[in-house]
Symmetry: D2
Subunit: 105 residues, 4 copies
């Protein structure tokens, strides 16, 4: 699908622009969580304790996903809806597919 | 939150109006699946076979949820986005909360 | 896979025998929840309110699944582990596959 | 809960001992995926493309969790079941709680 250009004059505008710093912080922390799980396995940590950390990291990534989706709906999808037509339909379909992947992952 | 009236002249218009028959059919089938699981337990069916049916019923409900959400985005949210203002913001927030509940359920 | 006979003298013994009444009650309630969702769609209830009930029904089924799995581990898998050998390996593999289906559903 | 000592003579034996190298490789890859998502956000990548990678990383972590659980059942829980008594009950309860956390995350 052709995604229409976003932003004007070279400036990229993504739906999460206002939350970017918060998202980056969360992702840095999630990366640290996964590295911590790697270290736990290296050090032969008890299975259940490793699992608890895997659940926590999964939850952290889901929180990131929901924040991204909310921003996407509030900006990209809302804007496409205002423009209407095929672009709006394509954006809704795309967002819905992303939600389906998330619910099933 | 105040949900603005939907439809004109008394006719209720919901986002899933066009998919209503399909949704009703899926829900009738999901109800039958749950009743089937009840019968399996009554008849002391082997745990794993019961579990397989529980996973299938859960998946069926998730498919219903994703269909409902897609219709909701395509109609209610898109319409609110076109109107803009506080109603649009409230609708986006409401949809995003519903997605979060779904991802975490 | 050949599941070895369970129970003696014709009496079927399933892992959830002690929780059977509780499971049946939960399943009856879940069936009522799905029927309630069907009625909501029939009556053109607002999408988000329908979605909230779908999430609740999904959660109810997950609770049933976790109860079934716990009983299965505590009885069928534990017993197979005590017997050891191929039957034990097959039971562990079977339980693990059921968990994977559940996590991904 | 008191977790009984594992291994003899100081050597720690965890359920995933045989799969350790595979788990470490998967975790290293998952860490790279999360770092990749961080970079995508830094570079203002389109929301939906970021979301696709978040779903992939979540799935990768779930695969790690299921592998850990399977090993845990096959070794720690099976061993406890053979010993029987309170330790066995505690191990089953502990595994079941970990499964519940996983299903709900």
């Amino acid at each position: 699908m052709l995604i229409p250009p976003r932003g004007i004059g070279g400036a990229e505008l993504v739906g999460y622009a206002n939350d970017k710093q918060d998202l980056l912080k969360r992702l840095r922390r999630a990366e640290g969580q996964v590295r911590g799980i790697h270290r736990m396995v290296e050090e032969d940590t008890y299975c259940i304790d490793v699992l608890t950390q895997v659940s926590a990291a999964t939850k952290a990534l889901e929180t990131v996903a929901i924040a991204l989706l909310t921003d996407h709906l509030a900006h990209c999808v809302a804007e496409a809806a205002r423009e209407g037509g095929d672009v709006a339909d394509a954006k809704i379909k795309e967002a819905s597919d992303a939600i389906a992947r998330l619910v099933r992952s």
